[in-house]
Amino acid sequence: MDRVPILKIGPTLFVSIQIDLQDQSVVQLQEDLAEELVATRATGVIIDITAVEIVDSFIGRMLATIGSISRLFDAETVLVGMRPAVAITLVELGLSLDGVRTALDAEQGLRMLNGHS
């Protein structure tokens, strides 16, 4: 099972989702992220889903959970790089992804995080 790498740049953690995540990888990612947040005292998390072609309610829940986990450790999460086709589908599906902030790309995401520190 491939673990999703978590990079640290300054006070921000970067998670880039490249592959089709399923059950164990999702739980592993959430655990790894929690550990990193504690270890690094990071204040921001950027989740890059530029490479993600499908977001169903399962992945949607994962993203919302990651947002909640970050908040527990006083960190802000920003979801970046959503594809237009995915956004249109999510809206039709009825997934509102409340509680997860979004930005067009990592650069704008960082600007959003820094505006709040």
Binding site: D20, Q22, D23, Q24, E53, I54, V55, D56, S57, F58, G60, R61, A64, R83, P84, A85, V86, I88, T89, E92, L93, G94, L95, S96, L97, D98
Partner: protein
Amino acid sequence: MDELTIESGDDVVRVRQQVRAAAADTGLSLVDQTKVVTAASELARNALVHAGGGMARVEVAESAAGRTGIRVTFTDEGPGIPDVDLALTDGWTTGDGLGLGLSGARRLVDEFELVSKPGAGTSVVVAKWSR
């Protein structure tokens, strides 16, 4: 036409890939492909989570009006859905569980047919046609 067993999360991914390949072949637009694959993912996961597994059949088909597209059939031998109408009504919520998967998936496809009886399993047939 392809038949796939759904017994694990890996199988859900496989169903997605199969549906995606078939959808691309029939000339569906990118947005329509994304919608039907997402719907298939929801339904496959439903079968896995609520029925302990099931089957998916992907086939290229033609609509009544003569447009090409794909049809995906999901069957399971699970407990069935006691109140289908209730399961299909759902607003814009982030709720999890059976409700969101079904009604959300229905909005994503052109045709949606569900047959389910408690104790007799469930069958869902969805179709998406090219414009």
